[in-house]
């Protein structure tokens, strides 16, 4: 048996690959659920009901999907240029922290303040990612290592700030930063739920990213640099400028996720506000085959697993960590599925 490269990759195959990967991940995770003594089918039933079974659960799921769309876009943009940004989590947190800090005492009217705070969150994420990108371009330092390690530094820094200068005096000793001013809380999308208009921002961001990648000079240069860096350089595309541009956009998207989450959901920053949005964004990007529209769909899948797993855990007693297992498995199965979209197995 050997792998043979396909002449052409049929679009239908690319579209079905994530579905097959998700199915395979669910089948594999079913083994673990079974080992926990629960019928996997009823467990998955609970999961679906928990995430999609009611109006409230759907809004909860979409609330969770909102930052995932943005971190997924952040990873997708970077991966297109073969810049391996594993630092979405850190960029999310600096975006969140900056927003809470500035938003606590910003003397601007509501909508304008919200726009300014989003830009601040984006700038923070972009700046944080610029460091590793600079080291990669200037000295060839592996950005996988630098972006990953920065995540821990950032989270510890966030902890330092919310225990110290940014501590919320009204939180009764709870480690939480000062909240953003009430004027800058994002309006609800559906009344009496947590779902806020940040979802619209995230979907709009996906549209913008798609437009940029396919229609602009920067997008074509990004794809060329990612697909064949030597040919791109030969054609006169500045690799360092392109990669730095990609790094800024990618970091900005993850920073925006943090800003939107603070203004839309949490108000202030805690060190546990992200259940791994940055890391899950990588899975989202891969499941989406790096396509912006796919990112939205994949984020909804991952959010369904996250939200549904809690409900499943309450109903069946299977630990909700199973959601992490399913998400991680779907990344692995997606990588295998991607292999089979470009290669076929021959005997």
């Amino acid at each position: 048996m050997r792998l043979e490269r396909r002449e052409t990759v049929p679009l239908a195959l690319v579209a079905t690959a994530p579905l097959v990967a998700i199915l395979a991940a669910l089948v594999l995770a079913a083994g673990l659920i079974g080992a926990a003594g629960v019928n996997p089918l009823s467990a998955y039933g609970e999961m679906l009901r928990g995430a999609l079974g009611s109006r409230l659960s759907i809004t909860e799921m979409l609330t969770r999907a909102t930052p995932l769309i943005l971190t997924g876009l952040a990873a997708a943009v970077a991966f297109r240029a073969r810049l391996w940004n594993i630092g979405g989590e850190g960029q999310f947190y600096v975006g969140a922290l900056t927003t809470a800090w500035i938003g606590h005492s910003l003397g601007l009217p509501g909508p304008l303040g919200i726009a300014v705070l989003m830009v601040c969150g984006m700038a923070a994420g972009a700046l944080l990612h610029a460091g590793p990108a600079f080291l990669r371009l200037r000295f060839g330092v592996d950005e996988v290592v630098t972006t990953l390690l920065l995540n821990f530094i950032v989270i510890l820094f966030v902890g330092l700030m919310i225990e110290g200068p940014l501590r919320d005096p009204l939180a009764f000793g709870w480690p939480q930063s000062v909240p953003v001013d009430g004027d800058y809380r994002l309006p609800d999308l559906v009344p009496r739920t947590r779902l806020h208009i940040g979802l619209m921002f995230a979907i709009a961001a996906a549209g913008v990213v798609w437009l940029v990648l396919t229609r602009t000079v920067f997008g074509v240069e990004t794809r060329a640099a990612g697909l064949n860096a030597r040919a791109a350089a030969f054609a006169g595309i500045s690799l360092s400028r392109t990669i730095m541009g990609v790094a800024l956009v990618s970091g900005a998207l993850a920073g925006l996720a943090g800003a939107v989450e603070v203004m839309g959901v949490t108000g202030g920053v805690t060190t546990t506000m992200s259940p791994g949005f940055g890391y899950a964004g990588i899975v989202v990007a891969m499941l989406a085959a790096l396509h912006p529209a796919g990112v939205v769909a994949a984020a909804i899948f991952v959010a369904t697993v996250f939200v549904g797993a809690d409900a499943m855990s309450r109903a069946t007693g299977v630990p909700s960590f199973i959601s992490d297992v399913i998400v991680a498995l779907s990344l692995l199965t997606m990588l295998v599925a991607l292999l089979f979209t470009t290669y076929r197995l021959r005997r």
């Binding site: 043979e4 002449e7 052409t8 229609r215 602009t216 000079v217 920067f218 997008g219 074509v220 240069e221 794809r223 060329a224 697909l227 064949n228 030597r230 040919a231 791109a232 350089a233 030969f234 054609a235 006169g236 595309i237 500045s238 005997r347």
Partner: protein
């Protein structure tokens, strides 16, 4: 004479493509068989089936009367078949002896028996007249020496049948002649050989028998003594193809001037004090054995490397530090050495590749957005003007054949009517038809007054196209000779680094 090797009725398909169709072939003891065919005729596929790298869909392989199990290279090696690949499979950081031993020792053994391996290697080296130093690092050896190691590696595994895939692709002519002498000597020792080639003169010079493959089918077998280059050429191509001929024309003003240029890379001198001039309406040919600085010369003129001493002038402006985009804007066009690695982004469309170099020009973009309609129209125009077959503007360029991809890259270069054109190995790996088309385009650009620098390892091509020729040896350039005065002996000496120092003023 008995057949030591028989391929019968081999068919191999890759999806819709039939690479080999009902091919039968036999090799006699002590014979040199040339397998002749154009690129893509199925030569390498056939040999890979013989060696067990591919499984044939139909047919079988017999070695010394025994049928080989398909898909088992180890079985082929055990049966006495050795293969010398076109691209060497040596580990540069190991010594010659280590490379030869690699893979022939049982994996479970705790320590290797170097002493007896060395004895065996030296015995083989002496018997077949292939001198080597077993302790030198492979990375220090020349390509000719590396090829010798590949052959020794096969012989070390007791090969009785040796297959050489395009063995002269990386050798200068004298080296190639020496190789064929050695091979001839080896047949006297009972070895049987197949060599794959698309070069007629070496097939005529070195083989006993020729098998011609075309489009995956065996179209003819001839005794070498009973055929002619003309007949073989027609059998190989299937029709007679004539390359266009260079017409005399008057030469214009100098366009590109290199004045005592030195190029360093990582502390190595890649180009050493080279000077040349290319005039409008002239083709300057740079000939040389692969790996003598052509890469650095190409990179210099593409804007990817910069002179560390000396000056490069294009149309009167200093072009040494311009970089790719600056050079293009100054009127240079470049055909890269490796069209897949540098010339095109395979996964992108024809139109995206067609405008990649000029994406930021106002013709193809407006305030950061690509003018897709204009770009597509430009690509469609190139496809038509340069006869690119099997492509629409939205085809992924990877799906084009080598010849058609090259025509598109040439079109991308020539569409702007460049002042200077770098053509770096423009016909490498192309078939006769495509070569003729590329030559015609180069000559047409010359007629329109472009200054063209042609880097080629094919002497014949350089002589046919160039007005003047310089040889490149170890990063240095010889004085130019007029193409009319260059016979193959003189060029051979130049490529070997023998030129009159008194010429070098």
């Amino acid at each position: 004479m008995t057949a030591v090797l028989e391929l019968s009725n081999i068919t191999k398909r890759f999806g819709a493509l039939t690479a080999n169709e009902d091919v039968s072939l036999s090799l006699a003891q002590g014979e040199i068989l040339a397998l002749l065919g154009e690129n893509g005729a199925g030569k390498t596929t056939l040999m890979n089936i013989l060696f067990g790298h591919y499984n044939a869909d139909e047919g079988e392989v017999r070695v010394f009367g025994e049928t080989l199990p398909p898909g088992k290279p180890r079985a082929a090696i055990a049966a006495g078949v050795g293969m010398v690949h076109q691209h060497f499979t040596l580990a540069g950081n190991l010594t010659v002896l280590e490379n030869v031993m690699l893979g022939s020792e049982p994996l479970g053994r705790m320590r290797s028996d170097r002493a007896s391996a060395r004895r065996k290697l030296m015995a083989i080296s002496e018997r077949f007249g292939l001198p080597v130093d077993p302790d030198s690092k492979v990375s220090r050896l020349s390509v000719g020496e590396r090829q010798r190691i590949e052959i020794l590696k096969a012989l070390y595994r007791d090969a009785r049948i040796l297959i050489l895939d395009e063995p002269t692709a990386v050798l200068a002519r004298p080296e190639a002649e020496r190789l064929f002498e050695t091979l001839r000597g080896m047949t006297k020792d009972g070895l049987s050989l197949i060599f794959i080639s698309h070069k007629l003169h070496e097939v005529m010079a070195a083989s006993d028998r020729v098998a011609v493959l075309r489009g995956g089918k065996m179209v003819a077998e001839r005794k070498t003594a009973e055929t002619s280059p003309a007949e073989l050429a027609e059998l190989m191509v299937g029709r007679s193809v004539e390359r266009p001929v260079r017409e005399d024309q008057s030469i214009g003003a100098p366009v590109l001037l290199a004045d005592h240029v030195t190029v360093m890379d990582d502390g190595d001198t890649k180009l050493d004090d080279v000077s040349f001039t290319v005039h409008a309406g002239e083709i300057l040919g740079i000939v040389g054995v692969s790996g003598n600085g052509q890469g650095a010369l190409g990179a210099l003129l593409s804007g990817l490397m910069h002179p560390s001493a000396g000056t490069l002038t294009l149309d009167g402006i200093d072009a040494g530090q311009l970089g790719p985009r600056g050079l293009i804007e100054a009127g240079a066009a470049r055909v890269p050495e490796d069209r897949h690695a540098e010339g095109a982004v395979g996964e992108m469309t024809v139109w995206e590749n067609a405008v990649l170099e000029r994406l930021r020009s106002t013709e193809f973009s407006k305030s950061g957005f690509v003018r897709r309609a204009a770009a597509r129209a430009h690509a469609a125009d190139l496809i038509k003007r340069f006869d690119v077959r099997g492509a629409s503007p939205d085809t992924r360029i990877r799906l084009l054949s080598g010849g058609n991809m090259q025509k598109l890259i040439l079109g991308r270069c020539l569409a702007t009517g460049p002042r200077f054109l770098l053509a770096n190995q423009p016909t490498r790996g192309l078939d006769e038809g495509a070569i003729a088309a590329v030559h015609a385009e180069l000559l047409a650009a010359r007629a329109e007054g472009a200054a063209i620098l042609l880097i080629s390892e094919e002497l014949e091509e350089a002589v046919q196209l160039s007005d003047r020729i310089q040889a490149i040896v170890k990063g240095r350039l010889s004085q130019p000779v007029m193409a009319g005065e260059a016979d193959s002996r003189k060029l051979g000496l130049m490529m070997a680094g023998v030129w009159e120092d008194s010429d070098a003023a």
